[in-house]
Amino acid sequence: MRDGDHVAIGGCLYSRTPMALVREILRERRRGLTLSRNLMCYEGELFMAAGAVERVVTAWMGVGLPWGISRIVRHFVESGTVALEEWSHLAIGLRFRAAAMGVPFLPSLTMLGSDLMGVGGMKTIEDPYTGATVAAVPALFPDVALIHVHRADRFGNCQIDGYAHMDADIARAATTVLVTAEEIVPEEQTRAHPDRTVIPGVVVDALVHVPFGSFPHEAYGLYEADFDHFGDYTGAIEARGPSAVNGYLDRYVYGPPTFADYLDVFGGERLARQSRRARELTEPFAAFAERDA
């Protein structure tokens, strides 16, 4: 990671956010970053409050519907401190996919006829076969991709349970790919279920074993997002204004030296509760997996 890098963050909103990697980048006090993510949750707000980010490329930014419009986004974007470059959700996906495919753009109908066209500089082209107007969605090649997966072997072959989000495309699109995994499995386990591998080891540059590496965001089947924590976070901002995020950074990012120390701030009971809730929601999947094992 270098100052000024374009960093793509895997997962989506509060699902499989690579929180351990996000935390380390914040601790390294990087500056001048551009962040891209299809739906950006409060990890983007942490970068804003830390003064680490100049531009956010996204389709949506906030914590989630019940927590309302983000006061942090309003504070930093309305003052012109951070540029929020908005694309449609499909356009973000196709930008990563075009890069993953090694082509300069992909034709699509997304964003046509909307004012989003003028924000990030999307151009249209004439379909050379029919003459129709189509959007030419430009490839996005991030410098660095941050990705959290369910399991990987020591060669970096990654498997993801549940929804795939855009991670496989992001990994192919980026120059440097950093991965954290809930579990490191023997190579033979990858070879027993190769159809489950979505990111091959050849595209991965570094891999770290980090259980609960998305917490308090979710990992499908393993732990549910901790909505109480989100409420505490937004509640503090409601009460004390944008400076509350600096307090959050001290408590959760700059303070705890290791990720294990960070998880201790939440406590084992909270982790166990969120794991139980995930199992309740994915029981058929879990039962199937057990039978299969």
Binding site: A59, M61, S88, L90, G113, Y163, E280
Partner: protein, 261 residues
């Protein structure tokens, strides 16, 4: 507008969910966001459309939402509960672009007389707006790529503006074929279901018109709460109020009333 709902012994969200559910047909597909759109879709599934396929932008097809565990975002386990396919987000939108999605449900901070929606910025210029809203999320694609778009919204004058500050999600754009002219091959807003009634669009001009009011709402009230001149069809209908059955089903889905406020 809440007084309308109160007269019907339900909340604004319940009224919108019931009216939204009635607009959905069995053996069809609906692209639904969380909140009222998803409640409307699940209610339709339970009430009259058991083979309705719900599609959620987090990369989820065919979920069976667990009562009492309604999803808060489109990308979480609650949204994926007992889904039939998890194709990834980009591919989910590509199903819509290919034409597989019959109906899309969206809302918005501002809506104009051509059904354009703004969820991006209000006032100022784009890079330094007076109010920065969360952004499109999936709304632009749902509005552009579903065969029919239905808007669900509370009916307020500040929301129903002559011209949105920013077209995040195109409706009929500027009317007169401008949506097709921009390259959108199909779709368009068919209805705007509000807390006061149901609005449609004049087939020729694509300007919004009043087609039905909810029980107890006058046409004048609708006009007063709309920030632009509203056309009217000759015989403005009155909707059937939500039934006890519909409300009971909804309340069983959201017993904590997280979304039914």
């Amino acid at each position: 507008m809440t007084t309308t709902a109160a007269a019907l012994a339900c909340t604004a969200a319940e009224l919108l969910a019931v009216m939204g559910a009635r607009a959905l047909h069995d053996d069809s597909t609906v692209f639904a966001g969380v909140g009222t759109p998803l409640l409307a879709s699940v209610l339709a599934q339970q009430r009259h459309a058991p083979r309705l396929t719900i599609v959620i932008e987090g990369g989820i097809i065919g979920p069976r939402i667990k009562p009492g565990r309604l999803p808060i975002s489109t990308n979480e386990m609650r949204a994926a509960h007992r889904a039939t396919m998890l194709p990834g987000i980009t591919d989910t939108f590509l199903f819509a672009q290919r034409g597989f999605l019959d109906v899309g449900f969206i809302g918005g901070a501002q809506i104009d007389q051509f059904g354009n929606i703004n969820t991006s910025t209000i006032g100022g210029d784009y890079w330094r707006p007076k109010i920065r809203l969360p952004g499109t999320g999936g709304a632009n694609d749902i509005a552009s790529l579903c065969r029919e778009v239905i808007i669900l919204t509370t009916h307020e004058k500040r929301r129903f503006v002559p011209r949105v500050d920013f077209v995040t999600s195109p409706g009929w754009r500027d009317g007169d074929g401008t949506r097709r002219g921009a390259g959108l091959l199909f779709g368009g807003v068919s209805r705007v279901i509000t807390t006061l009634g149901i609005l449609g669009f004049d087939p020729a001009t694509k300007r919004m018109r009043l087609e039905a009011t909810h029980p107890g709402v006058t046409r004048e009230t609708v006009r007063e709460h709309t920030g632009f001149p509203l056309l009217e069809i000759d015989d403005v209908a009155v909707t059937e109020p939500p039934t006890a059955d519909e409300l009971a089903m909804l309340r069983a889905l959201d017993p904590e009333r997280r979304f039914l406020r």
